[in-house]
C-alpha cells in the first residue's frame, strides 16, 4: 500500500493487525490434544503440497520450510509465500470447495494438516478447541477482508 503514510484517518480508528495467532489461548495439554488430530506432512523442495481443483479441504500449519502459493502449476504467478508458523488453506477448509491455487514447497519442510474429517472428530471430542479454532479462522478471514477492503479503497481513489 503505497499511500500508507497518507492514511488520513484518525490514528485512533481501528487498524488491521498484520498477524493473528491460532489457538494461542490453548494450554499445553489442550495443544497436545489438538496435535493428535493433525497429520504430519513431510515434504521435499519443489514438491506440490496442494493442487488447484483438488477436493482437499485441509488446513495446513507449516512447521519448517518455505512454500509458495501460485495460481498456475508452473508457478509464474505467485500469490504469497509462507514460512514456519504460518497457517494456510483455510479458504478451502471453510468453503469445502476445490482448491483454488497450488502450493509448492520451496525448501524441504514439515507441516501439519487438519482434514475436514479430523475436524469433525475434533468438534465431537474437543468442542471447546474446535470452537476456538473456528473463531481464530474467522478472525483471520475478517482481518484479511478488512485488509482487502482497505487495499480496494486505496486502489480506487487516486484523487483522495
Amino acid at each position: 500500500m503505497s499511500n500508507q503514510p497518507f492514511n488520513y484517518s484518525e490514528p485512533t480508528s481501528p487498524r488491521v493487525e498484520s498477524d493473528l495467532s491460532l489457538l494461542s489461548s490453548l494450554t499445553e495439554d489442550e495443544w497436545k490434544k489438538f496435535m493428535t488430530y493433525l497429520e504430519k506432512v513431510e515434504f521435499r523442495a519443489k514438491s506440490l503440497l496442494v493442487r488447484a481443483g483438488e477436493q482437499d479441504a485441509s488446513v495446513y500449519i507449516l512447521a519448517e520450510g518455505q512454500v509458495v502459493i501460485t495460481v498456475d502449476e508452473s508457478g509464474t504467478q505467485q500469490l504469497a509465500e509462507f514460512g514456519p508458523g504460518d497457517v494456510f488453506g483455510e479458504i478451502a477448509f471453510l468453503g469445502n470447495e476445490p482448491r483454488s491455487a497450488y502450493v509448492r514447497a520451496l525448501t524441504d519442510g514439515r507441516a501439519y494438516r487438519l482434514t475436514r474429517d479430523k475436524f469433525d472428530y475434533l468438534s465431537a471430542w474437543e468442542p471447546r478447541i474446535a470452537q476456538q479454532f473456528l473463531l481464530d479462522l474467522g478472525r483471520s478471514l475478517a482481518a484479511r477482508l478488512r485488509w482487502t477492503t482497505q487495499a480496494l479503497i486505496a486502489a480506487k481513489a487516486p484523487d483522495a
Partner: protein, 877 residues
Amino acid sequence: MTSAAFKNYLEVESRASPVLWWVMRLLVFGFTLLVIVAIPLSGEQGLGLFWNVMIPCLPLMFAFTPGLWRQICPMALLNQLPRTFNLSRGIRLPGGLSRAAYLASATAFFALVSLRPLFFNTSAWWTVALLALSLGLAAIGGFVFAGRSGWCGTFCPLAPIQRAYGLAPVVQVRNGYCKTCVGCQKNCYDFNPRAALLADFDDKDPWYVLQKRFFTGALPGFLLGFFGYQYLGLGDGILVYYMALIGGMCGSLGLFTVLETFLRVPQVHLSAIFSQTALVLFYSAVSRPFVQTLGSAIEPVQTLVWLDEVMVLTVLLVAIIVLVRHFEAHRVFSEEAKPAHAPKLKVALERLGSHASGLPQLEERASGANLTADPAQTMLETLENAGIKIDYGCRLGLCGADPVAIVEGAENLDEPGEHELATLRRMGLEGRARLACACRIRQGRVAIDLNQDPKTVPAPSSEAPAVDPASAAGIQRIVIVGNGAAGTTAATELRRLSPGVDIDLIGAERYPFYNRMGVARLIHKATGADDLFLLDAQRHADLAIKLHRNTRVTGLNPSTKTLTLGTGETLTYDRLILSTGARAFVPAIPGHDQAGVFVVRTADDAEGIRAYAQSLPRKTRKAVVVGGGVLGVEAADALRQLGFRTTILQNTDRLMSRELDQTASHRLTHFLNLIGIATRTNVRIETIEGEDGRVARVLVRDQSPVEADLVVFCAGVKPEVALAREAGLETDRGILVDDAMRTSDPHIYAVGDAAQTDPPLPALWPNSTHQATIAATQLLGVDPPPAPGPTYVRLKHDGISVFSYGQLAGEGADDGVEITSSEDDERFYRRLKIREHHLVGAIVVGMPGAEKFLMPYLAGAPIPSDVLATWQKGNFA
C-alpha cells in the same frame, strides 16, 4: 497502518505552545504588512533588501525546516483564518482542479520568477501588488476551499519549491493549523512532509508523477538560465531571456531523461538530486548579491566579504544532509511500500517443535518419510498420523490387508500375535512381512518400504511334512464352494497341511479373495475393489489352488460326489467344503425393490452405491441406512464422507445393540450425531416411497417420513443354504454341522456364515476362519487348532473407538470383577469384566485408541495385580 519512519503530523509533538505560534504568526504577518508599506517608501534599497536578502533566506529554511515556514507564513495565516473562525465554506477541491493544482502552481512559480528582472526586481509597486495579490488569493482560497486545499498545499506558487527543497526535512515542525485532518488533498505535505515526495513518485496516476518530474527536472536548468542570462550579460532582449530560461529548462529536463534512461537512476532520486542541485545553484548565484545588499545596508562592508562563501558551503552541507536523509527515507519507504502481506494466521513456533527425542523411529522408504513412533501405537497408526496412505482392513491382524515388508530392524518390532501369525501364514508371508495394524515398534529404528511387495522378500526355509496327511487319508481331491474368509482359509490351511492334494476353490464373485470387512470404504473412496484383495490370482497359482472365479454351482449330488457348475462342467470330489456364506437380508418392505435401494455385502454392491450416488444431483443428497449394526454405521459414515446427509434407522432401542450396552451405544450415537449422521431408534419401516422411478422417502410408523435419494439395507445376513438343502443335507437357518464342521454327509463339511453350529455363533470373521481351520484339520485327520479366545468386534472408524470383546452378561456373569469407568468421563466409556486376572468381556467407546490398554490381555495373558488396581482406580492410560 502507521509508519514509525514516516510519522504524520498527528503523531508528532508540537515544538512550541499554540499561543507562541500565534504570536509568531502575527509578528511575521505584521512584518509582512510593514514590508508592503515600507517597500514603496524606502525606494530602491528596500526593494533590494526584499529581493536580495529576505527572499533568499526562504529556500534554506524550506530545505532545513519547511514546517517552520508553513507555520508562520503570512499567506498561510490568511488562508487558515477563515477555517479557524469557522467561516470557511469548506468546499472540497473538485477532482480536475485537484489533479492540476500542482502544475498550476509550478507554472505560476516559473512564470513569476521569470518576471522578476522584468518587473518585480525594479518596481516597488509591482512587488507590492504581487504580495498583496498572493495574500488576497490565499485568503479567498481559505474562505472557499476545505482544509489547506485552497492555497497552501495546492495553488501557492511557493508550494512546489517547498516540496522540492524540503523533500527530507532535517527538522520536522508540526502542522499547527489542522486540528483534525479533513483529508483535503492527496499526499499532503502538511500531513506527512517526509513521505510526500516519495509518495508522489510512487503514485498510480502517471500525470501526477509527470508534474513532479517536470518541476524538479526543469528547476536547475531554469535557475541556470535565470542567473546565467544575467551573469553572461546576454542583453535586454526579452526573447533571448526567455530562450535562455526555456533552453535551460529543456536542457535540464533532457539531462533528467538521459540519466533516467541510460543510467537508470530512479525518478525519485533524480528528482531529489536535481532539487538539491538547484538549491546549491541558487545560493551560488544569490550569495554575492545577498552579501552586497546586506553589506550596503549595514556597516562595515569588509566584515561580510567571506560570508558568501560560508553561505554556499552551509547550503552545500544542508543539501548533502537532505540527500542522505532522502536515500535513507526511500529505503524505509520502499520496504513499507512493498505490497503489504495480507494478515496471516500463525502458530507459535515453539509449539511446532519436534517432540522426537528418544522415541523409536520408523523410516518409510517409498515416501522418504522419517517418523517418530509412539511405542503404544501400531505401525499403521504411525503411518496414518503422518498422512501416509496405506490400506487397512480389520485393524486386528485378521484380514491381512496391510502386509508390510520390513527392510531393516525387524528385531525392534514386538512379537507377532496368534491372529497375525495365522494371517501371515495364510498369505504365505510368515517370516517375510508384518501386518502394520498388528505390530508396534518397541525401540530403535525400523525401516519399511511400502512400494516393495512383501512376496518378493525371500521366505525362510520350512520343512515339508514327512507324510502327506491327504494321501494317508486317501483323499485326492477337495472342492471348496465359496472363496470368502472361510473358504479361502480352508484352502490355504489344507495346502499348508498337504502339499499334494488337489484343491478347487469356486467363487461366485468375479474377484479373488478380498477383504469383505472393508467394502463400505468402496462407497466413498475412489480406490476400487483391487485395494481390498487379500490373495491375488498369482498367489492362488503359487499355492496350486485352482481358483474358479465368477462361477456358479448349480447342483450337488452327494451320492456320486459330484458338483454341477453353471457352465455345464462337473467336478467330482473326495471331500467337499461348503463355505457359501450369507447374503444380505432385505425385509419384504413395500418398495424395497426399486432403483436406489441397495445392500452392502459384496464389493460390487458398494461400487454400485458409489456409481448411483454420483448420478444424483450434488446439493440435495440424502441417504437412509436401514440397520444400526457395525456395517450399518460404517456404511452411514461412508455415505456421509460422500456428502450425503445420512440417517440410520434402527429397529431396536440402540445402535450396535448386539455388541454395546446402553451407555456405550448412547456415546456412539452422540458422536455420530455430532459429525452429522442422524439416528433414529425403535423404527418400524412401513413403505419405501418412490418418485420418477427411484426412491424418494422412507415412511416410518408413528414418526415423520425420512427423505432419501438412496436407501442401503444393512439389516443382517441370511445364510446361503439352497445348494445344501436341495442336495438333501440337514439345514435349519444354516447348514447344520457338528464340532468337526461335518454336515449330515460325512464327506461334506460346512464352514463360515453358511454353517450353523450348536450353539450358533455370530457371523464374524474370526469365527469363520477358525471353523475353516477346524474343517481342514479334521478332514485330513490332523490335530485341530486350539480353541480361540473370545472374539471381538471393532467399528472401523477413524474418529471413534468402539470395541466390544467377549461377554459381559450371560453365563457366569455373576462371578468375576466388573470395572466401569466414571460416568463423568465424556471422552471414554470402559466397562470390563475380569475373572481370575483374565479379561472375559469388555466394552470400550471413546476417543481413537481408547481400547489400546486392553490389547496385551486379549490373547489371554493374565492381568497383573498392580495394573488391575490402577484400572479399579479409574486410570486406564
